[in-house]
Amino acid sequence: MPEEIAILGGGTGGTVLANNLAERLAPEIDAGDVEVTLINDDPDHVYKPVWLYIPFGQREPADGRRPLRDLVDDRIDLAVDRVTEIDTEEKELALRDATVPLGYDHLVVATGSTLADDEIPGLAEGGHDYYSQSGALDMRDELLSMTEGHLVLSVVGTPHMCPAAPLEFVFMADDWFRQRGLRDDIEITYTYPINRVHGNPHIAEWAAPIMADRDINVETFFNAESVDPDAKTITSMEGTELDYDLLAAIPPHRGVDVVEAADLGDRGWVDVDKHTLEAERAEDVYALGDAATTGVPKAGSVAHYQAGVVAQRLESEVRGRPATATYDGKTLCFIETGTDAASFVEFDYENPPSPAPPSEKLHWSKLAYNESYWLTARGLL
């Protein structure tokens, strides 16, 4: 029997990992000694950062979607299926469309984030988001029809995907409405759950003066408790109520139910050692990307770097050597500060971020990377 490596989830982390393993373990896979199976419930790979640009008419959903089969090395068994149960005792995965479970020797959970609008009463009815394809398309329609009033962006839940994206959205909206001559008639307010505009104090310190300079109102210590879609108000636990005409909300996030049911962690996230990425509640299980609770942002760059670490560790384990590769918290983000300028941050567990001065060059660097992302997914960049 070949040694089975099962990767659960074909987002950035799972796809980069699969291609990385295809290269590292090519001799073993070709000899039939190792099998790598990538399981995803969508035949397409979705690059979510594209969604930020859809509301402003700068990208279409198809720009962030490609068939997984075109991206994944032929050495990888691709199963378009849904895992319905993870049994870490028997080391088996139950699959919706398969009659027998898939046994594994090594499991990597890369199941990402899901949105949980239903945790805040009224949010699903009253709010819009750009953290889903359908949400981004609806948001585009809402923005196009908005000529006056109050745009409220509320970060309702953390942790959430791409911690910079709420800042980017208000910066881009400010710029977009200015270019269209509407900004004087549109008030923009940004709310955040803690006492500054971003979870990371260094990024908050950088962003706050830019928001003040751009007349973007800020409400901190705002933990949304409920939304009234009829009255168009959002109310916080702290007792603040805001009227809105358009509510752009970052909904609470969760992992996936099947991970929660397997008791690998809380809310569908997997508790891991933040350096080795090994699951803390089960043997021979790794988690990476959004699914892993490492404390670093839920961002594509994190999933990318973590995939490299897990690939090295699995290569060592398959070859009977001690695994020594570790993740150092490396995170890299471009941050749009408008429609033609961006900043850039890079940090890890030991070194805090220091945002670069916004420039047009960094904006084009971000857009260029988004195009070349498909090389990353293929394991080439």
């Binding site: 953390t158 942790p159 759950p193 803690i194 006492n195 979870g199 990371n200 104090p201 210590f221 933990n223 408790e225 636990m237 702290e238 933040k274 609770t293 404390g295 670093v296």
Partner: protein, 80 residues
Amino acid sequence: MSTIDIEPTDTVDARGAACPGPLMDLIGRVRSASSGDVILLLSDNDQSLTDVSEWVDETGNELLAVDESGDDYGFYVEVA
């Protein structure tokens, strides 16, 4: 050695979480707590010393005590 003699209703272990994880974990638990519950938040992040006390002041909850005797911080928060 802690001398704090408070029996928490619930404990939130946010050790290892990067900022603002500990405060957000506390807020998440307060959302589902009842008035009078005491939540013990464990954090090893220095930023929690200011984040937690400022949020508690803002919301009218009460910070009963902070245990700084060990390697981690323990925040005892009574829900209003």
